[in-house]
Symmetry: C2
Subunit: 368 residues, 2 copies
């Protein structure tokens, strides 16, 4: 962010700017406070959005505290942005003032490579994350589309199938909702026995397996070879072998969390069941819109705790302790986080992203 | 094998037997010498084959020397068997005396599970390997079908595709031949620079990459993101990251070798390219026949060094030192190895396997 600020000085000579502010962390304490900087004015292909809500997830916390050693301070976090359109450039056709729009963790891509041509901007080698200096490892987690895209791509979307969902956090609880909306049989796999009731009664999962308790081994054993696929949303290090063992022949374990250390690959069990371990990261713009429409159609929303902006530092503390269910949403963030997303070098792409994420149903508030 | 001999005593009371012999190792020296034992006579659903050739691969060596601590001595190795039919049971329809037939490393399955019903006997939970006490880890490697099956299953069989082949041993050199027969672009990836000429000039590969030399890094770098799939045939421990990096978005790394230790999974590169790491082990009976027909049609044979049976101990020594190209074939093994394959508890299934592996083209001698 400091680099962006200094390079912005050069850019200022070339184009008109406006003064904006966000809430930034200045050092690895991660404490957020108001921060003033500049960005360009709304261009012909741009829209400006007034940010109403922004999700908070562990990725934000990790970057604020520089857990991966890649943060440039000051940094304004946030990548699950929901807003209302306040300005529309003359070339913009899909938005009008007052529309709702969302921005996820991707704000740009080259637009011309094979991946971009196939609506896979999220795998473009020049894809640009919403955060400056935000590297791939930490930018993989975001809501809905992170779940929806691998379900569609890997064919884990059939009512006849049995899906395992590892972890019942932000991604996991949405995975259960999507899978149940698709009519699938769903088993939640968790290390916390106290999520049992939540998984079954509130989210509608069919089964619940605890991986960490000795007395659950029999259940795990009974479930071996029963799942068509597993979505693994856990970012903490954990062994993959028990999960691979739960898969049927040709079963698919899809990694969506990003533990800091590479796990051991149970290669022999993969071979003797023709199983795969795959990875997936968010989704392309077209598919993200599809996901939004799917969520709207099935009235699927993420479960959130809504907080005011000035509670954010306490929220981060609670997040670090695991004292939050699913997602926070900052309420009335308004201009604050918008300025963040538009302040990076990739602002020329923001239009594209938002353009596609036009909301079909105004009732659905959903982080991407 | 000792267990089989003792249980065979009980079985002898129930059914007629014949006396046979094989070449067995008695201890972890792995030295092979003639060995006498019993098996049942040819039944209504059985055929008896006179074994003409049997391939030797590193799996045999590992079992003879009990490298995995699972060998029951005495053990008669061999799982790439080619023979001629000498007896045909009254219910057998697909074979007549004088036909050529083959036996691979699988001799039985339950015949009724979902996998068996889908012609995936090789993934049957009750699948029976040709060796008694022969565990999965060591029984995964065998010729043609081990290559053909994953190419078909994972869709790595298209003339527009670029296939990487890691390792140029028994499996690897067949992979190059199959891929070239399918019109694919093929790059051999090896740790041995001296296989360059062999790969390109004799086997017809398009490119050759050495992983172990500093001065090859530029070539590796240039090849990043260019491959649709990679067949990894190497059994020695090696990192997967350089291979995953060679894959395009949605690329597939398929593990066919079985290193003794699980490799580290480069999970983040998988996620940011929606790539997969999969495994595969031999193939079902139907597909194995397809592979045989494909090989016959394209006149693809494995490259072998043919040796007499009494050279086998020297051959094993040379194999241990890597002093052999591709595969040995014992010539005139005749009754020797046949008795091995029929002596295990699974003999009732041998018919099924052979039944399917009826050869269409007599000129093709091919280990399975």
């Amino acid at each position: 962010m400091s680099k962006a600020s200094s390079s912005a000085t050069a850019e200022e000579k070339e184009e008109p700017i406006i003064k904006v502010y966000g809430w930034a962390a200045r050092d690895s304490s991660g404490i957020l406070s108001p921060f003033h900087f500049s960005r360009r004015i709304n261009g012909d292909n741009d829209i400006t959005i007034k940010i109403i809500y922004c999700g908070i997830c562990h990725t934000d916390l990790a970057l604020l505290k520089d857990e991966s050693g890649i943060t440039n301070y000051p940094i304004v976090p946030g990548h699950e942005i929901v807003g209302e359109v306040t300005k529309v450039g003359s070339s913009v056709k899909k938005f009008k003032i007052g529309d709702k729009a969302g921005v996820g963790c991707m704000v740009g891509s080259c637009g011309s490579c094979n991946n971009c041509k196939q609506d896979l901007e999220n795998y473009c080698p020049k894809m640009i994350w919403t955060y400056i200096g935000y590297n791939h490892q930490d930018g993989l987690k975001t809501f809905g589309i992170t779940i929806y895209s691998p379900m569609m791509h890997f064919g884990l979307n059939n009512p006849d199938q049995h899906l395992g969902v590892v972890g019942l956090g932000g991604l996991g609880h949405v995975a259960v909702k999507f899978a149940k909306a698709l009519g699938m049989k769903v088993t939640v796999i968790s290390s916390s026995p106290n999520k049992h009731k939540e998984a079954l009664e509130r989210l509608g999962a069919d089964h619940f397996l605890v991986t960490s308790h000795e007395d659950q081994k029999q259940l795990l054993q009974a479930a071996m070879g029963t799942m068509d696929g597993i979505l693994d949303t856990v970012s903490a290090p954990h062994p993959l072998l028990p999960l691979v063992n739960l898969l049927k022949t040709d079963g698919k374990l899809i990694l969506l969390g990003a533990p800091s250390q590479p796990p051991e690959l149970p290669h022999i069990p993969l071979m003797i069941g023709r199983k795969i371990v795959g990875g997936s990261a968010i989704g392309g713009m077209k598919e993200t819109q599809e996901m939004m429409n799917f969520a709207a159609k099935h009235q699927i929303t993420a479960d959130v705790e809504v907080i005011p902006m000035d509670y954010v530092n306490t929220a981060m503390e609670r997040l670090a302790k695991g004292d939050v269910k699913y997602r926070y949403l900052d309420v009335e963030a308004r201009e604050v986080l918008m300025t963040r997303s538009l302040s990076c070098k990739t602002h020329r792409f923001v239009h594209c992203k938002i353009d596609v994420l036009h909301w079909d149903v105004t009732d659905v508030i959903y982080g991407m």
